[in-house]
């Protein structure tokens, strides 16, 4: 029995090697007929590898315009006032849903994207775009806790450690994420629209917010770096950023066992795109095993590409970092945020504001 188990482990470990051997990787080739065309991409800043775009230009014989934005809202503002000519954008989950509802996205042509099966099945059919009609995952990550390793030498494994910590804590100013965490404990839907359940989540957090010194709008990592807090609830990328900047082991990131929020940034084609065909081709290119791996090796976010992960193209260091790639058990407990509609949004906003007042923030 024991031996069989061991054998199984050895086989599992060897699987990537076998995979890499048996499936000789064939470099992505561009479909014919796009030479001389132009593709215009609108993406988040520093969110692409140095050679991703130049390689695509060479492979297809096309030229690429590449512009950057810093928030979903900034991108949305540009597209809403009339698409100025972008073919491809990278909205986050909730934004995909909003844009689809407003008619700002055009459906993908999946016949032109044969690499779709490369994607991790768990990340497909997310509640914000149930059939992936409009979007496919680009990169993803989590919200969790960044903490000072000297305060927590044994790490953090539960939200209860955050609630009970005798010291300063910063929460993330993202109402749906924070209430979602409370819903995990209350056994209610993280995207609930029920007023009573939202109030219950508010009270749950309020009872556990005694140690909160800041509800930070995306700069909890700075408070952590300055030593003003011992724990900051933050996006994984932000905590990783301060770890690289200081080149030290003073900070660590963990996803508590109870679960947390998962965010997915998606490739989508905005309405009135001048060249949607080439945008579909580019999406297929990004979903290629090697291209996806190069992307992750450069920007250090989790790849949604199962083929990239299995092929061994992604650096071991990144693949084995639970701050970047959560374990399958952790993935099972992650929840995605969707657009809950104006009515529920108002309930959430009110509950959140009341909570902030009672917390004295």
């Amino acid at each position: 029995m024991k031996k069989t188990g061991l054998l199984l482990v050895v086989m599992l470990l060897a699987l990537p090697l076998v995979y890499a051997d048996s499936h000789e990787y064939a470099a992505w080739t561009c479909p014919e007929g796009f030479e001389g065309q132009t593709l215009s991409i609108f993406n988040w800043s520093t969110y692409i590898a140095e050679d991703t775009v130049p390689n695509f230009e060479d492979a297809c014989g096309v030229s690429v315009n590449y512009d950057i934005y810093e928030s979903n809202e900034a991108m949305l503002a540009r597209i809403r006032q009339g698409n100025p000519g972008y073919d491809l954008i990278v909205p986050s989950g909730g934004t995909v849903q909003r844009m689809a509802e407003e008619g700002l996205l055009i459906p993908l042509d999946k016949d032109m994207i044969p690499n779709i099966p490369n994607l991790i099945p768990d990340l497909l059919n997310a509640p914000y775009d149930p059939d992936n009609t409009y979007s496919l995952p680009y990169q993803w990550g989590t919200v969790g806790v960044g903490y000072r390793t000297e305060v927590f030498p044994d790490g953090i494994t539960s939200w209860d450690q955050v609630w009970a910590h005798d010291g300063s804590v910063a929460w993330l100013d993202d109402r749906q994420t924070m209430f979602g965490i409370a819903h995990l404990f209350l056994g209610t839907d993280p995207n609930t629209t029920d007023g009573d359940e939202i109030v219950a989540a508010r009270d749950y957090l309020l009872e556990r917010g005694g140690n909160v010194v800041a509800v930070a709008a995306d700069d909890g990592q700075v408070l952590l770096e300055r030593g003003e807090v011992d724990i900051a609830i933050e996006y994984n990328g932000d905590i990783l950023q301060i770890s690289w900047d200081c080149e030290c082991d003073d900070y660590a990131y963990a996803i508590p066992d109870e679960g947390s929020n998962v965010w997915i940034d998606n490739l989508a084609i905005p309405v009135d795109a001048p060249n949607p065909e080439l945008a579909n081709v580019f999406i297929d290119y990004i979903l290629d095993a090697k291209v996806g791996a190069d992307l992750t090796n450069y920007i250090w976010y989790a790849s949604p590409n199962q083929a990239s992960i299995e092929s061994g193209f992604i650096d071991e260091e990144i693949l084995n970092d639970p701050a970047i790639f959560p374990t399958p058990e952790q993935v099972a407990n992650l929840f995605a945020i969707i657009d809950v509609g104006a009515e529920a949004e108002e309930l959430i906003n009110n509950a959140w504001d009341e909570m902030l007042i009672f917390l004295g923030q």
Binding site: S45, E50, P54, D67, E70, P84, P274
Partner: protein, 300 residues
């Protein structure tokens, strides 16, 4: 004769006076120190970190010219990193937009200033008031109205010609010209107001036609105003974020819009380096402008 007591009081008052005066002297001396400090300290930090080895602004780890080297390499045509390429494209876009918008708005602005100073026509008062519009209305209002205007016009043109027009350099430049015209006109008009109108009359008396009068008399006299108006327009155009953001198209990102896009993540030292270069250039231009104006005043 003063009594001893009175003398004592007087001396007391005098020493107090001396104290106040001395404080005043120290205050006067400190005043520029503080002013310069507040004006320049943040800029010095920016310059300092353009020489930082680390990509982070958390600490200064050592001196390097690498970031300037990256920029130079790209300018010299060598292969360079995608991110550097993007930034320099934005910088080139900024210079291009600034130059063209300045040229157009300087000509138009000078013409408006002349017509207001010399012309007599209906609606001059209204034009006078409207000229200050772009200066006083909030930039965001102007940005959104321009964005909507372009959209409506382009939709309309698409309906007629069946060809879709996208925003791009033409929209950014048109937008920059709209706000720059006012600044140029105001500066040139101030210069025209200082000019002695009898000089033009004298030229007329001596047989010069209006064309000759303008180029031989008026223009050389208002030239310092035109140049400083143009430099002001160029600086404003280079700086502008809000209006550019709303009117730009694909691949026409200017440097301010590009830097704003970096905010979510790290602003690299290359951005510090290019900002330093831009600042040196601006200072140079302003220096020229001030020298020209100074000379003109000395001559007048």
């Amino acid at each position: 004769m003063l009594t001893a007591d009175q003398q004592l009081i007087n001396e007391d008052a005098m020493s107090r006076n001396r104290m106040v005066r001395r404080l005043g002297v120290i205050g006067l001396w400190l005043n520029p120190v503080f002013s310069y400090f507040f004006l320049w300290a943040p800029i010095l930090v920016l310059v300092l970190f353009s020489f930082n080895q680390s990509r982070s602004v958390a600490s200064f780890t050592g001196f390097t010219l690498r970031w300037y080297g990256n920029i130079l390499n790209n300018v010299m045509g060598a292969e360079s990193a995608f991110s550097t390429e993007l930034m320099l494209n934005a910088f080139r876009n900024s210079l291009f937009v600034g130059t063209v918008a300045t040229a157009i708005s300087t000509v138009l602005g000078t013409m408006i200033a002349l017509s207001m100073a010399r012309g007599k026509y209906k609606g001059k008062r209204l034009l006078d008031a409207l000229l200050f519009f772009p200066v006083v209305i909030p930039e965001i209002t102007q940005a959104i109205s321009l964005a909507i205007f372009f959209k409506v016009v382009f939709d309309w043109l698409a309906l007629i010609s069946g060809e879709r027009i996208f925003p791009g350099f033409h929209t950014i430049i048109a937008a920059h010209v709209t706000f720059n015209i006012s600044f140029v006109a105001i500066v040139v008009r101030a210069r025209l107001a200082d000019m002695n109108p009898q000089l033009e009359e004298a030229a007329n008396d001596l047989g010069a036609n209006p064309w000759q009068t303008f180029w031989l008399v008026t223009f050389p006299l208002i030239l310092p105003g035109v140049i400083s108006g143009a430099l002001l327009a160029f600086t404003l155009s280079l700086d502008d974020f809000v209006i550019t953001f709303f009117t730009s198209g694909v691949g026409t990102t200017t440097l301010p819009v590009f830097v704003y896009g970096l905010l979510k993540l790290t602003v690299t030292p290359e951005v510090n380096a290019i900002s330093t270069i831009m600042m040196v250039l601006s200072t140079f231009f302003i220096g020229i402008s001030l020298t020209i104006q100074g000379r003109a005043v000395a001559r007048a």
